[in-house]
């Protein structure tokens, strides 16, 4: 199995969806620096995508400096892999969107939602290692 989950949604380029999921896993620490990243074959098989697509995903992550190629071992997560501020925002875009939609559906006010987020942030930020 592979160390992250990808739920493919129809309508969006598969390649982008898998890159996105992998980035999220690296940033969330589910994949630690030095951890092996799945091979093309394994990634294709696990996510059920074409081998060429899997190849492209890995090349993209290497290109962005999140993975590095270790001859004889394969690709591993780069130490200190970071993502720009803009990219970070993009990674949570979907969650933020669904949170706002849910809040609106519940008839929440903007301030209510913000303070709920604020409270969540306070209670969790000390427990979660970043």
């Amino acid at each position: 199995m592979i160390p992250f989950r990808v739920e493919l949604v129809p309508g969006e380029p598969v390649y982008e969806q898998v890159v996105f999921a992998a980035k999220k896993a690296i940033l969330a620490g589910r994949l630690q620096p030095g951890d092996a990243f799945p091979s093309v074959r394994l990634l294709a098989k696990a996510v059920k995508i074409h081998a060429n697509t899997a190849q492209k995903v890995i090349a993209e992550l290497v290109g962005e400096g999140l993975l590095e190629v270790r001859p004889g071992i394969g690709t591993v997560v780069t130490a200190g892999a970071t993502i720009s501020k803009r990219e970070r925002g993009k990674l949570l875009h979907r969650e933020v969107e669904s949170l706002v939609v849910e809040a609106l559906r519940l008839g929440m006010q903007r301030e209510e939602l913000l303070s709920a987020v604020e409270a969540g942030w306070h209670s969790l930020s000390n427990q979660v290692e970043v």
């Binding site: 493919l8 129809p10 309508g11 969006e12 380029p13 598969v14 390649y15 093309v40 074959r41 294709a44 098989k45 996510v47 059920k48 995508i49 074409h50 081998a51 060429n52 697509t53």
Partner: protein, 290 residues
């Protein structure tokens, strides 16, 4: 790996295939979609020289279909529900029997597939369910590692878990083989197919790269400041207008500015990506109109 040039086939007065031109890049997974009776299966039969064409040519694994030798067929796999299996044999016997015809038979590969599909080796072929039959046929085909694989409706009537296993076995081979897959199960193929073509009444209406297709098709909703009739460009499909509200599918989307330019006074534009399935429906609807 597979090419057709103006391939044509008539059955009586019906044009089953009308000058079809296809070109499959090596290692592609090429989905051939279209309604029942569109000519998908006929195309596969012509490629394999099961029928003679009435015009044009086709090529598979580098050979003219009409000149396929048994040796060429060892490089080609074909799985279809209509395909005959020896009903009286046990599954294990069937594999042993099939292996004799293929010098490239890979016992390891077969063992993996038997495990993946959980095939009942002792059961008789005649006692198998639809899904298991498909998997037995597919395992017997993948075991000789064909360079070209033709699949006719491989997901029809399969439950979700079995489908997943079938897809897994196909993508496993994707780096080394070219796959032509006739299916109307678009939701299934979107994630792993590289190319998509749409056949309707024997004619190829569309053929291309899936990534490109996804980037070019958008569902567009426009709210106008005031209702106005405009000249609708050919690449806007299923155009409808109700008062100030306009809806269509852009098949050559190039940003909202290009859309804005067509109208006088746009209040709002919403653009959405379309799943392959929805693109297919739009194409079918547009096809019915003409």
């Amino acid at each position: 790996m597979i090419r057709t040039f103006d391939l044509t086939k008539r059955f009586g007065k019906t044009m089953a295939l009308d000058r079809v031109n296809l070109d499959l890049p090596a290692n592609s997974i090429f989905a051939l979609a279209g309604p029942n009776g569109a000519g998908k299966s006929t195309l596969l039969h012509l490629l394999l020289n099961h029928f003679r064409s009435d015009g044009g040519q086709s090529e598979i694994a580098g050979v003219d279909s009409r000149k396929l030798s048994p040796k060429d067929l060892q490089k080609i796999g074909y799985v279809a529900e209509s395909r005959h299996l020896p009903e009286w044999m046990q599954v294990a016997e069937f594999f042993r029997y099939t292996s004799q015809f293929y010098p490239n038979w890979q016992p390891d590969q077969l063992r993996d597939l038997i495990g993946l599909f959980r095939l009942p080796m002792e059961a008789k072929v005649s006692s198998l369910s639809r899904g298991k039959r498909m998997q037995v046929a597919l395992a017997a085909t993948l075991a000789y590692r064909p360079q070209v694989l033709l699949l006719d409706e491989p997901f029809q009537g399969l439950d979700v878990l079995v489908r997943d296993q079938v897809i897994e076995s196909i993508v496993e081979r994707s780096a080394e083989s070219t796959v032509l897959l006739a299916s109307h199960d678009l939701a299934e193929i979107e994630s792993f197919a590289t190319h998509f073509s749409y056949l309707s009444e024997g004619r190829l209406k569309f053929s291309g790269d899936i990534c490109q297709l996804q980037s070019e098709f958008r569902e567009v909703e426009v709210v106008l400041r005031e209702a106005v009739e405009i000249e609708v460009p050919g690449h806007w499909m299923n155009y409808s207008i109700q008062g100030e509200y306009v809806r269509f599918t852009d098949s050559k989307y190039a940003g909202t500015d290009a859309i804005r330019e067509r109208f006088q006074g746009v209040a709002d534009i919403t653009v959405r990506n379309l799943p392959l399935r929805a693109i297919f429906v739009e194409m079918a609807r547009e096809g019915q109109k003409s």
